[in-house]
């Protein structure tokens, strides 16, 4: 999985490419340094799918951002949207 981060002051944009699963989720977890970040944007344009391990990382990020700022998820494909729907993440996340 490729993780492409763009930091702009207090806003961080993370573009993910590949698969967010048990193997790759720890990489994302490590890459997301959210201290001091007010606006987090996750770009899923090139993400193929997410497994529950990936969801755990996203949930953790959402929890943290809820207390210190704002988080949006962008360009969600149908497969991932379905996963969000099944798991109820669709109500938790802000999907653009």
């Amino acid at each position: 999985m490729d993780i492409n981060k763009t930091l702009n002051g207090e806003s961080l944009e993370v573009a993910l490419a590949g698969r967010l699963d048990t193997t790759t989720a720890p990489e994302l977890e490590a890459a997301l340094e959210l201290d001091g970040i007010k606006d987090l944007a996750l770009d899923f344009s090139n993400l193929e799918y997410i497994s529950s391990a990936g969801l755990r990382v996203i949930l953790a990020a959402q929890k943290k951002m809820s207390s210190q700022g704002n988080m949006v998820v962008r360009n969600v494909n149908d497969t991932i949207r379905e996963v969000f729907e099944i798991t109820g993440f669709i109500d938790i996340l802000t999907i653009e």
Partner: protein, 793 residues
Amino acid sequence: MNSYIKLGIAAFIPVIASVFFCLLEEKTKFKKLPYPVRQAIIGIIFGAIAILGTEYGIPMNGAQVNCRDAAPLCAGLLFGAPAGIIAGVIGGVERWFAVYWGVGTFTRVACSVATIIAGIYAALLRKFLFDDKRPSWMISFASGIVIEVFHLSLVFLTNIHNAEKAAQVVKACTIPILVATGSSVLFASIFVAGVAKDKMLIDRKDVGISQTIQRWLLVCVVIAFFATTAFLNMVQTGIAESQANVVLTQALENVSPGHSITTIGETGYTTVQKDNEFIDTSKYKEMKIFKTEIWGVPSFIMYKNQLDSQILAVYPLAEANATRDISLYVNTFMEVLVFAVMFLLIFLLIKRVVVERMHKVNEGLELITNGDLSEEINVHDNKEFTELSNGINHTVDALKGYIAEAEARIDQELQFAKDIQAAALPRLTSAFTERPEFDIYASMDPAKEVGGDFFDFYYTREGKLNFLVADVSGKGIPAAMFMMRAKTQIKALAETGMPVNDAFTGANKGLCEGNEANMFVTAWIGSVDLEKGAIEFSNAGHNVPVLKHADEPWKFIQNPPGFILAGMDGVKYRKGDYMLRPGDILFVYTDGVTEANNATNELFGDDRLLDALNSCESDTMEGICKHVKSCVDNFAGSAPQFDDITMLAIRYNGPPPRTEISFENAQISDITEITEFVETELEKFGSPLKVTTQINIAIDEIYSNIVKYAYENNSGPATVRLEHQHEPNGILVTFIDKGIPYNPLNAKEPDTTLSAEERDIGGLGIYMVKQSMDEIIYEYKDEKNTLYLFKKF
């Protein structure tokens, strides 16, 4: 011995001879002799009987009586024209020469000619009137009478100058000879008919037109005969009396008192009586003729008184009536002959004009009834038959029109029925042809447009392959309709995966309901576990299938069949089993194969079936079925196919090749390798992208669970297996590990409605898998956790 008894015996000789020859023809090899030889033998024997008659004439009333003519009549009428002529000629010629050794010359010509004519007459009658068959007893009897009448007439004709003597002979012979010959021929005819078992009592509907007319003609002829004879008798008697009157008057007038005794005619005389010494004349008037007996002789008498005596003129009745008697005999005989000729002529005419044409019409009608509607009837010899012919031809034309119309309609409906039936049989879709575990082929050739045979194959819900061959009793539409019922009922039950014998038991119960037509089904059903090759089967009165294992020859699976389906409610069916090894071929068929017959009604049979299978060089199931069919066709030759021919061949190729990936020590990093492997395989199976993604997610979730929890702190083996399934089309993913028993399906479901802060990530993976897969089954067996995931494409 009484001469009547002698005559009776003489009359019985031709009867005995006739019965003898009839038995000879019926019971012995006499019939195998050539016809001319047989006729000659019969003719000669009957000729000899005629000679016997001549030589042993029976004296009666001063004449020699015999029934010589009966022999040629019997020979001709009962055995054949040539025999009759031979017998007649022998008898007649011998009679001609018999005068040289003491037989009377007076009737020489009459007797000779009559005997020859008797033979010829019998021959003609049989040949031209009765189509060389035996006539009825009535005709035989009448023939005897007619020939003898002819015979007696000839006696007069050949002695025209000695009519009175002829009359005496005829008078003496007539009754005995008619009775003797008539009854001789009559009994010969009746006994022969009895021996030969000819129909004696004719049914009214069998009586021909000519016979009916004959009967009425006979009645008219007899009445006319008696009326004219009585009238003639009256007139002739009157004439005789008036002539006697004249003769007696003249005699009395001419007699002179001195010559009181004179003669009158040949036997009459005058005499003188006193005091009524000979006859009492007080009752009669003088010079008036009267009839009474004098000296015991019945005579015409007239008297004249003179002084003290009377002159009597006596004229015996015998002489007075001689002329009358001759004319009566001749007339009677002529009438009999004329009526006989008339009778035959009318018979012949009716035969020619009506009966033969009728036969012609009937021949045509028979052709038409037997299906040759192109036959036209053309009997145009007279108006009535022309109308009849035209009427029949028009009817046939109209009929042809209706038949053509009906045929067209039925053809169309049968074509529909055929299509529907063909559609009801399973097709060899890719779901069957692309399975590596088996090869299958089946065919059904109905004897008519539609048939009662059927085959079926389908997967049960448990994934076993069921296949069935069945034969409904009867053929055509009724069988086809019952076939649909049977097929549906059996499939509905067997498809659920219940044991095949239970499916039969249930289907039998259903088929027995409302089976008023008493149809029944024989069927053989097999259910193969494609993983292991174990086959379970049940046989309901059906032909035993044939099996080929490895290089061994084909052999029957010996297993006693159960009762037929739809035969009796409550029957329970047994189950047989067999382990198919990879390469084994099973051939199931209906009795249309083994009971196909050839032109000489020989059956194809079990041995020829084995020979056909053993001689098959084809390796495909289709090739095997087609080879057997061509063997059956070659055997049957031109004989029509009598029954539906159905065959099903299946080869078990062994369990499906598995696609799996295993690790000795499962760890998270395996997932990448597994995912790559799965993606490659799924692409081969034609999996849609979305399914691939969902499978990837599922593998990620399940495999990571195995790594994390199955072996607690250690690691252990794990396997991921992929199987492409066809019914329904999809992918089966199986995870196997040897860790602690754990059923992920029992995991607590996450509450997906909670807010982000409240959410716990546990259990979400399994939940996602459950949501995205179509079916998940967990089992713990042999110390292994096995989790099956199925996802439709």
